[in-house]
Amino acid sequence: MSDRLTVDQTKAALVAAADAIIASTERLTKADQAIGDGDHGLGMARGMKAAKEALDKKPAATVGDLFKTVGMAIVSTSGGASGAVFGTLFTGAGKVLTADVLDAESFATALLEGQKAVQARGKAEPGHKTMLDALAPAAEAARANAAAGLPAAARAAAKAAAEGAERTKDMVAQFGRARTLGDRALGHPDPGAISVTIILDAFATAAGG
């Protein structure tokens, strides 16, 4: 795969990420039942199904248009905290992707902008046992590997997200409904962090990484 994705290729990668979430509904439900109320998987799947439909219908001139379409679809159909957070991630990332290609540089910038938007919206910080604990290291890894090209940067981001999600097992939640579980959530990873990992992993594979 080349070092950059066209609008159509980026769309295909986003669809792959959506399919990966939909296929993981049960895994995400189980993860959320352990520390939340169990609606994360269904909410994410609902949002990603809507995102696929919207990507199909809505024309996109830039890569950012695609990300914004995904973000709006998730926000308006997922509901709950997941919808707001993941919708904000894609919308925030989309805002800086103003070209008609996605390269390693813009991918890294978009992840960081998405992370900033999520932090501004939710007032959470890395270390609070949220999806940020997968997203922040992913953004960092994408930046560190940007010179290696998009496939390598995307793969590094996915790997860092997976490691970050794993570390949330040892964290006590400071945010969201899981926060109120306190120590009872110890030993369980954050479902949102798992979702970030699934999305980045599928995206990286589609990007050739």
Binding site: S82, A84, G182
Partner: protein, 331 residues
């Protein structure tokens, strides 16, 4: 554990069917929106400061049913125990707005705060001013910014409805509702879990003979697990937590709400009421008004909450003001 038996159809349709039920029961006083699971009053007075409430479904009658004259102008219904998305809140905001802006009143939960904030930003782009009062009456959490919105939401919505009906501006309505919120405290207890209607699974586990004081309406952990104790002892424990928190002082005038979380009997609540009044009298706190019933539920959770709101003359007048809705009407 055996699954809870529920009288429902397809779980996917719960929210839509509840909304239809409310519209039919309103006999023309409410309508549903086409593009969002939301209820709006018919004939909202032009130029009125609008009140919008909302949150996850499954807590009926809170928040969806408290729409009516003297109460909210619109309510937005999320999925079961999940915040509604911003586009739905925004649609209801536009429908409720009468040119004087919209006051949002909802519980302090992370998902709700994010989604309602996004809706408020969308409304601002339309030139609709929105203010927010977060209900955070639950004393089971230490940090006030972490406190959840539970049973006291009833008094705050009631007062907000009356305040918005007479307020000349959004500022004025916001100030009085903030005052109501700041003077409201609630503590709950659960003796048996409720279930998630989609799955029939309990939202938490309690051991045999165990109760949990301070447990949240979605099963969030409380302040302590204890063995079941007599009503008088439990009531004293809960009233002490409330009185010490604000604190309520000798000479204060309050309204008291004993809220049934779903499956507790009126019999039990009346026994609690007797002891609560005795303790409050000893403390020199005057109970000017009592409400007992199911105002904010969590499916068939067994348990109740006690809410005290400290009243001044303005709050006392607003809490007694007329209102009408399916679950609560006063003349």
């Amino acid at each position: 554990m055996t699954k809870v038996q529920k009288i429902i159809n397809d779980p996917e349709n719960i929210v839509a069917e509840v909304i239809d039920g409310l519209v039919l029961a309103s006999h023309g006083r409410l309508r549903k929106l086409e593009d969002a699971p939301a209820l709006v009053r018919t004939g909202i007075e032009p130029g009125k400061v609008a009140l919008l409430v909302g949150g996850g479904s499954g807590h009926e009658p809170m928040y969806s049913a408290y729409v009516g004259k003297g109460l909210a102008d619109a309510s937005v219904c999320g999925n079961i125990f999940a915040s509604p998305p911003p586009n739905h809140i925004h649609a209801a905001t536009v429908a409720a707005n009468q040119g004087k802006g919209v006051l949002y009143v909802y519980g302090n939960y992370a998902g709700d705060v994010m989604n309602f904030d996004m809706a408020a930003e969308m409304a601002a782009e339309d030139g609709i001013e929105v203010r927010t009062v977060l209900v955070n009456d639950d004393v089971a959490t230490d940090r006030p910014e972490d406190r959840r919105g539970i049973g006291g939401a009833f008094y705050i919505v009631k007062i907000a409805g009356a305040a918005c009906a007479e307020a000349k501006s959004l500022d004025e309505a916001e100030a009085v509702v903030n005052k109501a919120q700041a003077n409201t405290r609630t503590i709950g207890v659960a003796v048996r879990a409720g279930s998630l209607p989609e799955t029939g699974e309990p939202t938490f586990e309690l051991g045999e003979g165990e109760i949990e004081i301070g447990l949240g309406v979605h099963g969030e952990p409380g302040v302590e697990r204890r063995a079941l104790m007599p009503a008088d002892e439990l009531t004293a424990n809960m009233i002490d937590r409330l009185v010490n928190d604000l604190p309520f002082k000798r000479g204060d005038r309050v309204a008291m709400l004993l809220n049934n979380l779903g499956a507790t009997t009126q019999m039990e609540l009346l026994i609690v009421n007797r002891k609560a009044r005795q303790i409050l009298q000893e403390k020199g706190i005057e109970v000017a008004r009592t409400d007992i019933g199911a105002y904010f539920t969590s499916q068939e959770m067994a348990g109740f909450s006690i809410t005290l709101i400290r009243l001044d003359d303005e709050l006392a007048r607003l809490i007694e003001a007329p209102c009408e809705s399916l679950p609560f009407t006063q003349r």
